[in-house]
């Protein structure tokens, strides 16, 4: 069968398309970021401004806010394409579906995960994070947020055809996020105490590799169910 273009070409075509669409709707990039900042800002107001306490809970706050921001932004991942029918065209195309969804997920991560990583140190300053934790914070976010995007995309793909998918989405994917949260925050804690945090990073990296390999297939299968 003639496929027309190679896997690499189809991957980058879709990646470029998604990035271009997002650049033209800048709100999609900034809204999750603003949400992230807002959630982090609420915590000192809620638990009190003592620097010791804030620096103790800072890794948890930043990571929980990152989980929520990633989940909120994921809702839009397939929605527009589903509404205007281009998702069905992707399913019908001769290109393998896992490659196409991988391109979409990576585009999504570049648009929402990377800005989040870039702004995180600033918020860490606001929360009085330990001096030596910054490296660990950046490293865990860099390795962990793609895992969030990949796992979350499975839930989004399952709920894209539903009218009230939003609330359901949190129930579906937040339990899957728990391991990332645990290892990321403990790596940051360990770094704050000047301990070696290579082990935790290695586990998050293993989760990244595992989900990078397996999640596109699950996302593809879910999309086929949802668009039926």
């Amino acid at each position: 069968m003639q496929r027309g273009i190679s896997y690499t070409q189809s991957f980058f075509t879709l990646l470029q398309r998604d990035l271009r669409i997002a650049v033209r709707h800048r709100g999609d990039i900034f809204n999750p970021l603003l949400f992230f900042i807002m959630v982090v800002t609420l915590f000192p107001l809620g638990v009190g401004p003592e620097p010791q306490m804030l620096s103790r809970i800072a890794p948890g706050i930043i990571w929980v806010a990152a989980l929520l921001a990633s989940m909120l932004s994921l809702e839009r991942l397939f929605k527009a394409d589903f509404m205007d029918g281009s998702l069905e065209q992707m399913l019908l195309s001769p290109q393998p579906l896992p490659i196409l969804v991988l391109a979409k997920v990576i585009a999504h991560w570049l648009l929402t995960g990377v800005p989040l990583i870039l702004i995180a140190p600033l918020l860490a300053v606001l929360l009085n994070l330990e001096q030596n934790s910054y490296g660990a914070l950046m490293a865990t976010l860099a390795l962990g947020t793609p895992v969030l995007s990949l796992l979350g995309a499975i839930g989004v793909a399952l709920t894209v055809g539903l009218r009230k998918g939003g609330v359901l989405l949190s129930l579906l994917i937040l339990p899957l996020y728990i391991p990332v949260l645990i290892f990321a925050t403990s790596a940051i804690d360990a770094a704050g105490m000047n301990l070696n945090y290579g082990g935790q990073l290695a586990i998050i990296a293993a989760m990244l590799v595992g989900s990078l390999v397996l999640a596109p297939f699950a996302i593809g299968a879910s999309l086929r169910v949802s668009t039926n």
């Binding site: 499975i154 709920t159 359901l168 129930l171 339990p175 391991p179 645990i182 290892f183 949802s226």
Partner: protein
């Protein structure tokens, strides 16, 4: 062997088989659970440390161990349904999910009531408790995903994918929670080790575990039968059955 098994993918045969199996499962479950519970609650010796309050173990441990087993059963059925496109397997998965959720809830609830007199609090963020709670969330996710699709064929498939994703995650979650609680909490709390249990306590416990398994099987069969009827309401054999029963 495979050919013989495949014939049960047909809803009518599956229905008849489950009707035949149901009395066996329910009677055996009743027998095992009553023997195990009466033995455990009345005749098993009192624990020298925990007194009589340890006796909730005869409900708690079977529920907890079966909550995991039910999830594995559900995911296996979902996998069979997804790979070989057997609808009956999807229905099995859909019928197990609420049962598993209830069993998980029972395990959590009895654990909490056991924890109150023993540890002095209803809830601690112990690794096993947390993992069980996450398991409950996974069940609830599968149930609500199944409920939110109008088309039940699609619903079963979507819930099946989620169940399978959950199975890959259960060991990771379990391991990470274990690791997390060993970091955050020194092991001041220990549930009685199994190996240190005397055989007069162990036998009723094992009998109850088997009984709970049979009970889950029986309830699954009941739900499976009604699921078959609900999905095949237009088929002639269902109509004949309804006429025979005097409804319709």
């Amino acid at each position: 062997m495979w050919k013989w098994l495949h014939s049960y993918a047909d809803p009518e045969k599956a229905y008849n088989l489950s009707s035949k199996l149901l009395p066996w499962f329910s009677l055996l479950a009743l027998l095992f659970i009553s023997v195990g519970t009466i033995w455990g609650l009345m005749f098993a010796p009192t624990d020298y440390q925990q007194g009589d309050s340890y006796r909730i173990i005869f409900i708690h441990v079977p529920a907890a161990s079966m909550s995991m087993a039910a999830y594995m059963g559900m995911a296996t059925a979902a996998f069979i349904g997804l790979v070989w496109q057997i609808k009956a397997a999807d229905w099995v998965a859909a019928s197990i999910a609420p049962i598993g959720a209830v069993i998980t809830f029972i395990a959590l609830f009895t654990g909490a009531t056991w924890g109150k007199p023993m540890w002095g609090t209803w809830w601690v963020w112990d690794a096993r408790l947390t993992a069980e709670l996450v398991l409950l969330f996974l069940y609830l996710g599968v149930i609500s995903l199944y409920a939110s699709f109008e088309d039940k064929v699609l619903a079963a498939r979507a819930a099946g994918i989620l169940a399978i994703v959950g199975v890959i995650n259960i060991p990771i979650i379990k391991y990470s929670v274990d690791w997390w609680s060993s970091l955050h909490q020194p092991s001041t709390i220990k549930i009685t080790e199994k190996s240190s249990m005397s055989s007069e306590m162990l036998y009723p416990l094992l009998i109850n575990i088997v009984g709970f398994g049979l009970m889950i099987g029986a309830i699954t069969i009941v739900r499976f039968k009604s699921e078959i009827l609900a999905r095949n309401g237009m088929r002639p054999w269902v109509r004949a059955l309804a006429k025979q029963e005097g409804v319709s």
